[in-house]
Symmetry: C2
């Protein structure tokens, strides 16, 4: 059980509720992707601490990537960074992109949850049976979240996530990511990742998952999409990495993106906006 | 550059040639999946050393999984295990199942190659552009191997790898893994992973990749497939984990599987066998 789960309202709750409350409290829908790199592990750790310290007033969570885990120790420095994020009342997400067989997935998931992560990202491409079944079971047992990769933000994503496949239910031709969005609903995922670089896809996913599964959108700033357009297209949370930590003034950049997102959300709330 | 590359014939060579020569020298087509688990990292390390020491006369390589990397340090204990395997003239494969965007994939790949791995496993589902392009480029530059996941061994694999999709070239309906097998040929992969639990699929992949791309088959023993049937269906190398390390006598189990595979290969060579 992570610290933040107790502190927020004294009751265990699902990750999607936890991040919603966190983002309302902190008035930010920005998740920092802390993908900084440094040759020396000690320098890397210090840089991570510095960035979390600086931008914490403008974000609601921190997403860790696999390269950082390889360079720092999961059971020492990474735990310290998770603790720091939790002290700032931020949620923590491990972008593990889990895609192995069930017993291996369970081992990986258990190690990340033991280290303190509140949620883990997994690929629905490995399916349920003997694939992600153990990941969802473990997350449910520990009140942690599973976030599914539904569409990624790079060009080659169209060769996999965007491929036209035969829907086993309707036998119609549909894009692969639509099946993944339906998986997220059926499997009770606590979030989906959809690249902001394909706003139409974002909206298609929003129409399927509605308010049941929040959408996390990477691909803004450094990869070209605008935060405003991503929110308009249906993103609930924006995942921002280089747009913040590679900026000469990370805190100001984080604040600017947060303000842009917040003002877009306010405008949308005033209008009779519908995702279409 | 790994030690073994120099030792085998004094010239840099592709990973697929390296493992072929290694397996001929050691008269074994068995790759040990060293997926052992122990709570205490030091005990885990000792157990790994013990198993590699015991079974090295009967295998040609060692495949490391993500759970082990999380528990041991990539830059300390894992390097020691890679060095041990290389001293035994075995090749080393990192089962990273890489499936991220290009710059993250490159960072992960670089860290694993720097640690000494000879080859890395990646998922073709993320596509080439901005996906695996950087992984293949880095591998080519350093004469390391990339092995693609073409079909996995668990039940849920049919929901992804086995899904019927529209072939962008012919517009015909084909299984997803056939496209992955074609990717492996086109991208000049040094291997493909195809689960032995679906022997028909193994044979279909063999018909596509022929002798150009060796097939690595997991799923024997613990997951139910027989080593003999896997070789008959087209596997070039068998990946064996629990069938060896969970056995009460790992060395004897490894020898038994090796002998079964070798005698099957000899019988096939004597006949006019064709994969069909």
């Amino acid at each position: 059980m992570s610290i933040i789960l107790i502190e927020v309202d004294g009751l265990l709750q699902r990750f999607k509720d936890l991040i919603k409350k966190t983002s309302e409290n902190l008035e930010s829908n920005i998740v920092l992707a802390i993908d900084v790199d440094e040759k020396d592990p000690q320098v890397l750790l210090e840089k991570c601490v510095e960035i979390i310290d600086a931008v914490s007033p403008h974000i609601c969570g921190v997403k860790f990537g696999r390269p950082l885990i390889l360079k720092l120790s999961l059971n020492n420095q990474i735990r310290d960074l998770i603790r720091l994020a939790h002290e700032k009342k931020l949620v923590t997400i491990m972008d593990a992109k889990i895609n192995d067989v069930a017993h291996t997935n369970l081992n990986i998931t258990t190690q990340y949850f033991d280290a303190g992560f509140d949620a883990i990202i997994a690929s629905p491409f490995v399916g349920w049976d003997g694939g992600l079944d153990t990941v969802f079971q473990e997350a449910t047992k520990r009140n942690k979240g599973v976030i599914l990769l539904v569409h990624m933000s790079h060009k080659g994503a169209s060769q996999g996530y965007g491929r036209i496949v035969i829907d086993p239910d309707s036998t119609k031709k549909i894009p692969q990511f639509i099946i993944f969005a339906k998986n997220a609903l059926a499997w009770k995922a606590d979030g989906v990742v959809v690249g902001a670089t394909h706003p139409n896809n974002l909206t298609m996913v929003k129409q399927i998952v509605g308010e049941n599964v929040p959408i996390f959108a990477p691909g803004v700033i450094a990869q070209g999409a605008s935060p405003k357009d991503a929110v308009k297209a249906g993103a609930d949370y924006l995942i921002v990495g280089r747009g913040i930590f590679s900026s000469s003034e990370p805190e100001k950049s984080a604040q600017k993106i947060k303000d842009e997102v917040n003002s877009t959300i306010k405008k949308l709330a005033k209008s009779d906006f519908e995702y279409s």
